[in-house]
């Protein structure tokens, strides 16, 4: 960022009625996103927010930017198409943990391979909010939230570990109720060149009575210490300093993997892993320099000459 942004969070807000439950962690993420966008100074009309379906999926309606509230589990493919169609736009994809790691798991994984320059924010609340509280893929075995008739008999997913294996070049975790640091984290993710995952721990006061605000704050613990701590505060270095060094990459992934399994009494937030490497846009530009020059959506194709193709068939 060269110039400080003249935009304020307010300019990214919409006036419509927000129908999330009172106290929902989604408000924290939304506010953080408003702040991050303002901080980065990208004009609203140069921003496109894609979402899946769920409580989280309603986010675009609450952001003053081009908004695409797509299908359940399909936010990554549609955002990918959108970004490739106009790589001049800032593309942000958001969705729930069911949306991204359940029905969308195949796209979540395959997006890691492309390293297209967009940011994916997952609202991780351990439940399927909008369908009334079934276990989401992040809910761990043995847990039972108030709306489940039986405890979970299958394991929860570790999204950070999966993102590392899938090839994401920016892997981070935030906490919805620490809005300011989340805003900074989101800004950093958006600025990253390549696909960035930010898994955000989000409280759902309506259905998740286990991972509550109080639980995160450690109120049940004898020492009343928050479960959340910041990776960076412990001198953790997520950055691959020599992207050409395969060994450093693997070592940084292994380090991040170990950290990602801290998920009980201590829960790290912050950036787990960063690698600066060529994006899919870079590769496409190398293949056809025209691609780099004008985003496809802005190019004029009305004069295309296909006669050489017919010639080949003569």
């Amino acid at each position: 960022m060269a110039e400080p942004s003249t935009l304020t969070a307010k300019e990214f807000r919409t006036e419509i009625w927000n129908d999330w439950c009172p106290g929902c962690g989604d408000f924290g993420i939304l506010n953080a996103l408003h702040m991050a966008l303002a901080q980065l100074g990208i004009p609203p009309h140069r921003t496109a927010v894609f979402s899946g379906i769920g409580c989280s999926g309603k986010t675009p309606h609450y952001i003053n930017a081009y908004g695409f509230h797509t299908l359940h589990g399909r936010v990554i493919p549609s955002a990918t198409g959108g970004k490739l169609a106009n790589h001049g736009m800032e593309v942000i994809a958001v969705g729930g943990d069911g949306d991204g790691y359940g029905i969308g798991a195949g796209y979540f994984i395959n997006a890691g391979r492309r390293n297209l320059d967009f940011t994916y924010i997952v609202y991780n609340n351990g439940v399927y909010g909008l369908t009334k509280g079934q276990a989401s893929p992040t809910l761990r075995k043995g847990l039972k939230t108030k709306s489940m008739p039986e405890q979970a008999i299958i394991d929860g997913i570790n999204p950070i570990a999966l993102a590392l294996g899938a090839g994401y070049t920016f892997v981070a975790r935030g906490y919805a109720l620490e809005t300011k640091s989340l805003a900074n984290l989101l800004a950093r993710a958006i600025q990253h060149r390549g696909t960035a995952l930010v898994d955000v721990l989000q409280t759902c006061p309506t259905y998740n009575d286990l991972q509550t605000k109080e639980w995160y704050a450690g109120e049940d613990r004898p020492d009343k210490q928050s479960r959340i701590y910041k990776l960076e505060e412990n001198g953790y270095d997520p950055v691959v300093h020599n992207p050409a060094d395969e060994e450093e990459i693997v070592a940084k992934k292994a380090q991040a993997l170990v950290k990602s399994y801290e998920n009980g009494e201590k829960i790290p937030v912050g950036v787990f892993y960063v690698l600066e490497t060529s994006t899919m846009e870079d590769e496409l530009s190398e293949r056809n320099p025209e691609f780099a020059k004008t985003p496809l959506a802005e190019a004029d194709f009305s004069q295309r000459d296909v006669s050489p193709l017919f010639d080949e068939l003569a």
Partner: protein
């Protein structure tokens, strides 16, 4: 006088180069001023299973294949007598010798000579045993590489080609030229090898075989024509339409088109993405279309079975596209992956839950494929909805000589685009109900054009609303666009009545049956008055126009390559008119010219309600 047309067939295991031989021959005749039609049958297999390629050549327009073959090239024994060796319990085909026309010939490996003679002694056939191995060694010997003969078994195909040209008395230079153009650069050595083999076999055949083959084709005047198949026509039509974004997930028979497009990415500025599956393919395309590029995806039945949700997404959000090219193949399920069928019509007409607008058009031939591919993007943009273009394996992969399409008159129409008078004003209503149902769309990135698109029901601004008033207005808005499309789309894109008015019999059909039907008609019409109503626009269905034509028809028969007569059902749903006779084919093979004629004969002769045509074949 020897006939100036013939049907040729080459058969052999997959991987034995029959494609190269057949396509070279087809091109050689096309360049020589002939009309050519060439089509392939093959298994869902990479190496070893039986495949065959037909090349039909004539000095008048042809658009289909025949069931009979004048000259059969057998690269293996199975091509002659079937696969009972491989599949003793459940053989799958009886070989091809039964398809030979009287007076026809067979080029085959001399090692089977005794057997062939025995089995075919009472048939009026010319036998052309070719000592493949000796000729191969001879050819390699000329280049000092005789010892490598085992590596070059694959060149049997070229040997057979040389013999073919000799027997037909065609000009070998056409073939040589094409081989040289096929193998260039690092592959020039391969060209040399093949040319030597070609000539060796050609010489041998001239010397050894009689010159009494009843079909002889002297070179004609060159014509400005091209040899093109449906997949290519579509790809070129799309590029001409300004395609910016193409997705695909590999699947027969759609992949050919996408691979062709992939190869053009350095020449034209657009992107082809091989996705992780078809769900991704359609959703990426919807995302891209919304973002302002012309977007498309291509697939076959199984892939399309994963796209319903995405089609509904596009329709609900009034996305300008994508255009979906659905290459039908033998179904249901995985079915017959490399065979042809027209059984996805009903599914394409109702491809997701709920009522929503989309357009369905079916191309009849390779020329229509080009124009439909082009025009479909205009419709997607004008009416802001997904468009499905139906093709099939037969159309996609069959080569036909056609005049070079005239692209100069084609006009890109991107439909209504929103232009704010004051971009700082905040009043854009992306989904405001209008007279026609169409609301100008903003291009994301544009100032003053911010909108919201949601797959939920919404208010004029694009925000979720479950209000009854908005619901009714939006449903009506969306569905109205179909009415507009029905009014605006020009009639040739809707249907064509081929042949004489007031015929005794009217054939109704759609899609790739057009070629064989027209060919059969041109044979038949001398004594019988038959015409042919070809349906092209299947949704919105031109109810009035079709009802009128059908109402006037004296006798009706429908022809389609599926079990249940899907188009006949649609016709009845739309017009109430019941087609009393169905000619159907559901063996996964395309209709030949003869089969159409045969079906029609049966209908004319008897009262059969449902005539199933099918012939044993490879």
């Amino acid at each position: 006088m020897a006939s100036r047309e013939f049907s040729w067939m080459i058969g052999g295991p997959q991987g034995s180069g029959i494609n190269l031989a057949a396509e070279t021959l087809a091109k050689a005749f096309s360049r020589g001023g002939y009309f050519v039609f060439a089509n392939i049958e093959y298994h869902s297999n990479i190496m070893g299973k039986h495949s065959f390629y037909r090349v039909r050549v004539a000095d008048r327009e042809i658009r289909s294949h025949l069931d009979t073959t004048d000259l059969l090239v057998a690269l293996d024994e199975e091509t002659l007598f079937g696969d009972y060796h491989h599949n003793p319990e459940f053989p799958t085909h009886p070989g091809h010798v039964h398809e030979l026309a009287a007076g026809g010939g067979i080029i085959f490996d001399s090692q089977f000579e005794k057997q062939v003679k025995e089995k075919l002694e009472d048939r009026d056939l010319r036998l052309y045993p070719l000592p493949y191995l000796d000729l191969l060694k001879e050819a390699l010997g000329k280049l000092g590489r005789e010892s490598e003969f085992k590596k070059f078994d694959i060149m049997k195909n070229t040997l057979a080609l040389g013999a073919t040209v000799a027997i037909l008395d065609y000009d070998l230079d056409f073939v040589s030229e094409i081989i040289r153009q096929t193998f260039t650069g690092r592959k020039a050595k391969v060209a040399e090898l093949n040319l030597t083999a070609l000539e060796t076999a050609h010489d041998y055949a001239r010397k050894t075989f009689g010159d009494d083959f009843p079909h002889r084709l002297p070179a004609r005047k060159r014509r400005d024509q091209i040899l093109m198949r449906g997949a290519q026509a579509v790809a070129i039509g799309k590029l001409k339409a300004g395609l910016g974004f193409q997705t695909y997930y590999p699947i027969s028979p759609a992949t050919d088109e996408a691979v062709y497009l992939e190869e053009q990415q350095r020449k034209y500025n657009f992107v082809v993405v091989q996705t992780e599956d078809e769900v991704s393919a359609i959703n990426m395309a919807v995302g891209a279309a919304h973002m302002g590029v012309r977007a498309s995806t291509s697939t076959a039945g199984p892939g399309f079975s994963l796209m319903p949700e995405g089609v509904g997404f596009a329709a609900m959000t009034e996305s300008p596209g994508p255009v979906i090219f659905l290459y039908q193949r033998g179904g249901p399920s995985t079915g017959l992956p490399t065979r042809s069928e027209q059984a996805d019509l009903r599914f394409a007409l109702h491809p997701s839950h709920g009522d929503f607008p989309h357009i369905v058009v079916a191309c009849g031939d390779v020329v229509e494929s080009f124009y439909d591919a082009f025009e479909s993007f205009n419709w997607a943009d004008r009416y802001q909805l997904p468009v499905i273009v139906l093709l099939d394996k037969f159309l996609a992969t069959s080569y036909r000589t056609v005049p070079r399409p005239d692209a100069s008159k084609l006009k890109i129409d991107r439909g209504l685009i929103y232009k704010p008078s004051d971009p700082r004003r905040d009043g854009y209503l992306r989904y405001a109900p209008t007279e026609t149902g169409i609301t100008p769309r903003a291009l994301p990135g544009q100032e003053g054009g911010i909108f919201w698109a949601t797959t939920d029901e919404h208010n004029p601004k694009g925000h979720i609303s479950e209000g009854i008033e908005h619901r009714l207005a939006q449903m009506e808005k969306r569905m109205k666009k179909l009415q507009l499309a029905a009014q605006e789309i020009p009639s040739p894109y809707k249907y064509t009545l081929h042949g004489p008015q007031g015929a005794d019999l009217t054939i109704v059909s759609w899609g790739s049956t057009k070629g064989p039907i027209l060919d059969a008609l041109s044979e038949m019409n001398a004594d019988k008055k038959v015409n042919f109503l070809q349906l092209r626009l299947l949704r919105p269905f031109p109810v009035e126009e079709i009802a009128k034509i059908l109402g006037k028809a004296k006798q009706l028969v429908s022809i389609e390559a599926n079990f249940s007569g899907q188009m006949a059902g649609l016709l009845r749903e739309m017009t109430g008119i019941r087609i009393p006779h169905l000619i159907v084919k559901y063996d996964g093979r395309p209709f030949s010219q003869n089969e159409i004629a045969e079906g029609v004969e049966k209908v004319l002769a008897g009262k059969e309600e449902k005539v199933v045509v099918s012939h044993p074949g490879g």
